[in-house]
Symmetry: C2
DNA sequence: ATTTTTATTGAACAGTTGTATAATAAAAAG
DNA sequence: CTTTTTATTATACAACTGTTCAATAAAAAT
């Protein structure tokens, strides 16, 4: 199974396109393998030679979106500005914009029926991205992973609530709220 | 469908017991409705008259565990001590102990294949429980739900990492770590 | 104790799932 | 261009799913 084989690339592309098309009409858990394969004009057996279940097909897509999240997150660092430590993690702040621009996609990722694995991918990515910042800012040297998990998931808590409110707020408003919270307008 | 009907109570009980028994042998997503019904000696049609899918059966159980979480959480308040605001939310601190005592159960709730809905139930419960405390401690009066979601999910971030490390740490250690983090040993 | 209500059962149905195998066709390698 | 490799296809299979319906039995109501 070499990933460069044209046949594999074509098949996977067709399957993904079919899935995304179907996701416009129904929820992920209502879509069947049979359906995807019919639309993609791919044999059902072929589907199973690449993926164990539909969720794996979507997960592959999610992983690519996570790559974009990484790019978005690192963007403020790219111009050489050393990220003012006083201005409270302006990088974090790109997360809301990333989600806003993939709103349609995140409605699926955050929907109830979907496997928790998707959330873990998102959380893992945010953890990873915050790692360097947390490393500098925290005095807790041991259990860095725990501090990252705490910080990353706090932000995702806001994302969950944002989604629950059907993304009524704008990404800019979300950022302002985050800054407020980080500035200790509480506790 | 009156919930007091003995037949319903017996049926649901049998189904739950069967599911819990099977969960000792295999993962939730590997269990079939047919299997549960055979073990429970309940007709498959009856299963579907109560639940749409296996996940709903487990969810009903989860809701009861959430009731226990509420009791655990409120425990420190019960003796009339007004919860010292200086001692940094000692109530929160019961969450880790609750999870530790239901460790086996939470391994399922936090497993990858399980629907995100379970996580939402957990998060929603922690939000609800923290609400009163957050209300007092925060200066942000609007968007209280957002602050709660932030705080509650931060703790759950630690729970996720705790689970990822296969619950190696003790609940007491988790508490100490949380106190460290809340005491601003970071940022 | 009898009647009424209704949850459970058994059976059947079309459709989906996951797996296996031989034949085919497409791509890679030489 | 020919050979070799291997991904895809077509087909078949047993098992599970989700639904329906008439018959039954268990509980509730009187």
């Amino acid at each position: 199974m070499k990933l460069t084989d044209l046949r594999i690339i074509k098949t996977k592309e067709a399957l993904r396109e079919a899935l995304l098309a179907l996701l416009n009409t129904k929820a992920l858990n209502a879509i069947t393998v049979t359906e995807i394969c019919q639309l993609a004009k791919v044999n059902r057996g072929t589907f199973y030679s690449h993926y164990g279940q539909i969720e794996d097909l979507f997960e592959e897509y999610l992983e690519e979106i996570m790559e974009d999240l990484a790019v978005s997150y690192r963007e403020p660092y790219r111009h050489g500005k050393p990220v003012d430590p006083e201005s409270l993690n302006p990088a974090t702040i790109r997360i809301f914009h990333h989600i806003e621009s993939y709103k349609k996609f995140y409605r699926i990722v955050l929907s109830k029926q979907v496997p928790l694995a998707y959330y873990y991918l998102l959380h893992g990515q945010v953890c990873e991205l915050m790692k360097k910042d947390v490393e500098i800012q925290t005095r807790i040297k041991s259990d860095l992973a725990m501090v990252c998990a705490y910080q990353a998931n706090a932000i995702l808590g806001m994302v969950i609530e944002w989604h629950r409110q059907d993304f009524t707020k704008s990404a800019v408003e979300m950022n302002q709220l985050l800054v407020h919270i980080l500035n200790r307008e509480f506790n």
